[in-house]
Structures are given as structure tokens and as C-alpha cells.
């Protein structure tokens, strides 16, 4: 009967679990310096590039990605949008946000694709992963901030970690889906000629899953971009910080301009990744 009248100490359990985890300081410090390294690397490059060269590089990448059907409108939009961000004095914030997004997407990719492959290969693993992915995606993103701070302190790294947790599920899911969608007769063909699992994966399954997989990567990138404002609450620098400050100071104008800069960045990233996906066909 007591279980019906007294509250379950679930939150106490989670707290003691988190406290128990914090004793592995060395492990978390290792992760912190590793991710910190990637973040600093990206940021170092972006700080080094003059604005004009950065814009030229973005345009060149777009030019290459859309080589099978030029989109002049997109190129023009990128030029105008980036110049606007520069003009509004958000350049460094924009590069910091880009660093956050690129780092978390990269990590989501490196962890997510192998997880997706394992899910496609094993029904048991798929059954275990599905609820975990649902949890990762539907748990309010703010919740990740609390343990992230406990383990990784404040700054870019906990921001990246909570973005990764929030943004990884689409990559995992779409990798799984893409591999499972490969027609069964192609799998039979690969098997009947004596392919090893690895050969089948590399030569047949992944190439055929590529466009689905890339759609997942694109979604992951967009989700991590949606995390930038939340991540700014634990000290991840960038456009999110500007939005966060504007909210604190009740400054609608600054909030709008910083928000607009995020939108421009989102559109550029989205269109480029989509163009790369289409170019393969």
C-alpha cells in the first residue's frame, strides 16, 4: 500500500546515479579535452579566415554541390545573407554557432551511423535502441543541460554533448531504415556470390542506403542548430547567446536580428547538405 501513497524516489535515484558517475572525473575530462580540441580546431580555422574568403569558400562549396543544376538564387541568397550577418556584427557569433553545429553533427555521425548499422543487423539491438532513441528525442532538451554541466562544466563542450544527444536519433534511425530498405534480392545476390558481411555492407548496403542516410544527417544538423539557444544557457557561445541576452534584456530588435542570423545559417546548411545528397544520383 505504501507504494500507492508515497512518491517513488525516482529523482533521488537519478541524482545518486549522476553523483556516482561524477567520480569518473578522468574519463569525463578526457572527453572534454577531446571535444574541446575539435571545437578549438574549427574555431581556429574560422577565426583565421577573412570574411571575404569565408564567403567565397561557402559559395564554392555550393557551386560544386549544385553542379548538376545550378541554383543562382541560392548563391545570391548566401552572398546577401552572409554579408548581412557580417554587417549586423554577428560574424564571430555565427562562426561559433557553426562550430557548435559542425562539431555536434560530426560526433552524431561518427556515433550514429555505426549504431544504425548495428540496429539494421540485429533485431534485438533494434528493439533495445528504439525506446532509447524515442527518449533521447522527446525528453525536453533543457534536461540534458543539468548532467552535462555536472560532468563537463560550462562552455562549448557541454553544449556540444547535449546537442549530440538531442540531434543524433535521426541519423541512427535513417541509417537503420536505409539499410533495411535495400531490396532483398540484392542482398541475396551479394550473399550468393560469397560476400562477407563487411563486403556486403560496404559494397551494397551503405551505397544503396546513402540517400536515406544523408537525409538523416541533414535532420541531425538542423536539430543541433535548434539546440544553440538552449546550449547558450550553459555557456556555449554564439548566436544563441545573443538571442538569450536579448530575451534577458527584453530587447526585441536584437532578438530578431540574432534569430534571423540563425535562420540564414540554417538555410545555407540545409540547402548545401541537400544538394550534396541529390548530386549523387
Amino acid at each position: 500500500m505504501t507504494i500507492l501513497i508515497s512518491k517513488l524516489p525516482l529523482s533521488d535515484w537519478v541524482n545518486s546515479f549522476v553523483t556516482w558517475l561524477t567520480q569518473f572525473t578522468g574519463f569525463f575530462n578526457g572527453i572534454t579535452s577531446f571535444i574541446g580540441g575539435i571545437v578549438n580546431g574549427f574555431q581556429w580555422v574560422f577565426d583565421l579566415l577573412p570574411v571575404w574568403l569565408f564567403i567565397v569558400i561557402v559559395l564554392a562549396i555550393t557551386w560544386y554541390a549544385t553542379r548538376h543544376g545550378k541554383k543562382w538564387g541560392l548563391l545570391l541568397f548566401e552572398l546577401a545573407g552572409l554579408l548581412l550577418i557580417w554587417n549586423l556584427d554577428y560574424w564571430r557569433d555565427m562562426t561559433q554557432t557553426l562550430t557548435l553545429v559542425l562539431t555536434s553533427s560530426l560526433i552524431a555521425l561518427v556515433i550514429g551511423i555505426p549504431l544504425g548499422i548495428l540496429m539494421a543487423k540485429s533485431h534485438t539491438f533494434e528493439a533495445i535502441m528504439k525506446p532509447i532513441l524515442d527518449l533521447m528525442q522527446t525528453m525536453p532538451a533543457f534536461v540534458y543541460l543539468i548532467p552535462a554541466v555536472a560532468f563537463f562544466g560550462i562552455g562549448m563542450v557541454p553544449g556540444v554533448i547535449s546537442s549530440v544527444i538531442f540531434a543524433m536519433p535521426p541519423t541512427v534511425r535513417m541509417t537503420n531504415l536505409g539499410i533495411r530498405q535495400v531490396p532483398v534480392d540484392l542482398i541475396e545476390a551479394a550473399d550468393s556470390y560469397g560476400s562477407t558481411s563487411w563486403q556486403k555492407l560496404i559494397k551494397v548496403q551503405l551505397p544503396l542506403a546513402k540517400s536515406t542516410l544523408m537525409a538523416g544527417v541533414n535532420q541531425s544538423m538542423m536539430l543541433s542548430l535548434s539546440m544553440v539557444v538552449i546550449a547558450s544557457m550553459i555557456g556555449a557561445l554564439g548566436l544563441g547567446t545573443q538571442v538569450y541576452f536579448a530575451v534577458g534584456r527584453n530587447n526585441a530588435g536584437n532578438g530578431f536580428t540574432a534569430g534571423l542570423a540563425i535562420v540564414i545559417l540554417a538555410i545555407i546548411l540545409d540547402r548545401i547538405t541537400q544538394a550534396f545528397n541529390r548530386a549523387k544520383h
Partner: protein, 398 residues
């Protein structure tokens, strides 16, 4: 003759795999009885047969008879529930994963109903797949793949992708992929069933030609008796997972094992087995919606014929135009082909037995037009080809 492949007591049960089912199978219960008593589906029930070195062995049955399951157990794409499969005396069931892979790489190549070509690879890369995974060096395997493509009559498509080729050409690639691998055994799963009748006939001829040179051991799945009789050295007939009869085409035709086989070959004689689809040839056509009289005349001159068949843009059959009338039209400088098209052409269906046409064939001057269910012109029947087929190019190849 040496036995290349030998299959003993091979069975496959889908679903529940209780010892009780195995017991029932051993007792010789039927698929329906086992399903009723245990809820398990029997795919293949106690199959026993062998395939000789260098023969074309056709496994025939309707859909659901277990023939696809059977062929997939021979290379263990489907794991048998019980029984043994031996190739060159080596029992496949005792092999571990790695040894099995080696057998698949060295001894067997499979060719699929829907071609199963990899859409992300070029024709050449598709053909070289088997060699590539064996670790054959790039220029060697491409050379071999190229030779295999030449062998099946595909020139100049090496760097195209599968979706750029027609169905018949794609299956040539499928065949080339099997041949490039240099395997002694070809497993062909309804390999020609997805092709239209003319292409199917071409491919059957092609296979017979190749077989004369290469002497592979071919296990060929089919649901088409004509095909089985045409290419098979021996035929195995399956029903509900059970082998009903095994024998040469002659055996099957003269001594059907039971009523099922009898119904299959219902009063087969040489002309009856042949359907219109087996003897028709490719027509020369012009498109009435697009082509004018000059083109029609040109086509007749090129092919040295005095008449041409007329279809519309949807390939539906319209009629037939005679050289004399077309010349008259050109003299009058008229462009309207429609006015000279004769529509009273005798027509028939691909599934009609040739025997039913024999009398009429000799009395009509115009070749029969063969139309499918959608009224598309799929072929024509000329007397010479029919007589040739009956004389022995067609059915039984003794």
C-alpha cells in the same frame, strides 16, 4: 555421368520448428496435414534428387510449390531444416560460415528473376562483382567481366548503369555476372520469367548456345512447361513442396507420374506444346501517328519485304500496309497512311497452341498478327518459322 549436386531428404519448415514436425515429415505427411496438425508451413518436403555434371536441370512447379526455396537451399541462402546437400561429394551442411562462403565464391553463381543488379554500379562493375569480392585484381577482373559481357552479346554498355538498359539486356548482365565468376554451377531462379516472350525465347537460345560451349551444370527454376521442355535435359516437377516426378522431357511427356503432371502436360504432342509465343518472330512496324508513307516504304526496302505492320504511338495494333498501296500514296503526294491501312488482318494471342492455327495458316496470304491482352503487337507468325519449329528447332531437343 558424374553427379555434381546431390540432395538427400532435404526439407524446409517455416515457422514453428518442433521435433513433432520433423517426425511428421519423416512419416510422409503432406503439407496440408502438417499445417493443420502443427501450424507449421512446409516449404520443401523430403526432396531427393541429383544433378549430373554438365546438364541443364529444370525444377518446375507453380508458385508456392517450393521451387524457389529448394534452389535457395542448394547454396544455403535459406538454411535447410534437415537433409544434406553435397557438391562434388562435399556435404555443404557440415561447412562453417567461412567454408560456405568459399564454396559460393568458387563453385556457384546465382541468376535472379528480377535481375538483382546493383543500381549503384556500372554494368562492368556489376559483372565483376563476384571476382571483386574474391579479391581478383582490378584490371584482371574487368577484363574477364568485359569478356563475359561480349559472350552474352552486350557490346558497348560497360560504363552504363542497369536502369539505362532494357529488361532483356539487364538479364544478359545477370547471366554475364554468373559466367564471369567461372563457377561450375549456375543457379537460375526463374531467370527468364520477367522477360517478354520474344526476349525470353532469345535468351533461351542464347543459354543453349552458351551451354554447348561451356558445359556448365545448370539448375534452372521455371513455372513454364514450354521453357522446361525446351531447355531441360532433365526436369523435376514439384507440387506442394513434394517432388512429383523427375525425368527427361520425353519421360515426362510419355509417362506422367500422376494426374497432376498429366494435367500439366494435357495432351501434349509436338505441335500442342508449342504456343504462338514460341514461334512468332519480330515484326517490322511503323508508327501511324508519327511516320509517313516514305518511311514505310524505306522500312520495307531495308528488310526486303512487301508489307509492313502498322501500330500507333501506344504500340497498339492498327493494321497492315502493302508496298503497292504505299507507292501509290507517294505518287499522289499524299501523307495520309491511314487511307491505305488494311485492318482485316488475321490476329491471334501468344498463348494459343500452334496446332489450332495450322489449317488457317496455310490459307491466309498475310502473316498472323500476335496481339497480347492489351492489343499490343508482340509478334507475327510466318509459315516458315512454324514449320521449322515443328521440325525440331522448337520443343524437344533430343
Amino acid at each position: 555421368m558424374t553427379k555434381k549436386v546431390e540432395v538427400k531428404n532435404l526439407a524446409k519448415i517455416f515457422g514453428k520448428r518442433s521435433p513433432r514436425v520433423k517426425e511428421l515429415i519423416t512419416q510422409g505427411k503432406t503439407k496440408a496435414e502438417i499445417l493443420e496438425q502443427t501450424g507449421a508451413t512446409v516449404g520443401v518436403n523430403q526432396a531427393n534428387f541429383h544433378v549430373n555434371q554438365g546438364e541443364i536441370f529444370v525444377i518446375m512447379g507453380l508458385s508456392g510449390s517450393g521451387k524457389s526455396t529448394l534452389i535457395r537451399m542448394i547454396n544455403r541462402l535459406i538454411e535447410p531444416t534437415q537433409g544434406t546437400i553435397s557438391i562434388d561429394g562435399q556435404d555443404l551442411m557440415t561447412l562453417n560460415k567461412k567454408e560456405l562462403r568459399e564454396v559460393r565464391r568458387q563453385k556457384m553463381s546465382m541468376i535472379f528473376q528480377n535481375f538483382a543488379l546493383f543500381p549503384n554500379r556500372t554494368i562492368l562493375e556489376n559483372t565483376a562483382y563476384g571476382l571483386e569480392i574474391k579479391g581478383v585484381e582490378k584490371n584482371v577482373r574487368e577484363q574477364k567481366a568485359h569478356e563475359a559481357l561480349e559472350l552474352v552479346g552486350l557490346h558497348g554498355y560497360d560504363h552504363q548503369f542497369p536502369q539505362q538498359l532494357s529488361g532483356g539486356m539487364q538479364q544478359r548482365v545477370g547471366l554475364a555476372r554468373g559466367l564471369a565468376n567461372d563457377a561450375e554451377i549456375l543457379l537460375m531462379d526463374e531467370a527468364f520469367s520477367a522477360l517478354d516472350p520474344l526476349n525470353r525465347k532469345d535468351m533461351q537460345d542464347e543459354l543453349l548456345d552458351l551451354q554447348e560451349k561451356m558445359h556448365k551444370t545448370i539448375i534452372f527454376i521455371s513455372h513454364d512447361l514450354n521453357e522446361a521442355l525446351r531447355i531441360g535435359d532433365r526436369i523435376l516437377i514439384m507440387k506442394d513442396g513434394v517432388i512429383v516426378q523427375t525425368g527427361t522431357p520425353e519421360d515426362i511427356l510419355t509417362h506422367p507420374a500422376d494426374d497432376y503432371v498429366k494435367r500439366f502436360i494435357e495432351d501434349v504432342d509436338r505441335t500442342r506444346v508449342l504456343t504462338v509465343a514460341n514461334v512468332m518472330i519480330r515484326p517490322n512496324t511503323i508508327n501511324i501517328d508519327k511516320d509517313g508513307p516514305r518511311l514505310a516504304l524505306r522500312r520495307m526496302q531495308e528488310n526486303e519485304i512487301s508489307s509492313v505492320y502498322v501500330v500507333d504511338s501506344a504500340r497498339k495494333f492498327v493494321g497492315f500496309a502493302d508496298a503497292k498501296d504505299v507507292v501509290g500514296l507517294i505518287r499522289k503526294e499524299s501523307r495520309d497512311l491511314r487511307s491505305v491501312v488494311q485492318t482485316s488482318v488475321p490476329t491471334t494471342h501468344p498463348d494459343v497452341p500452334v496446332n489450332d492455327l495450322m489449317d488457317k495458316l496455310s490459307s491466309t496470304p498475310i502473316p498472323y498478327a500476335v496481339l497480347d491482352d492489351d492489343h499490343h503487337l508482340v509478334g507475327i507468325i510466318v509459315r516458315g518459322a512454324v514449320l521449322g519449329a515443328i521440325a525440331g528447332n522448337g520443343v524437344a531437343q533430343e
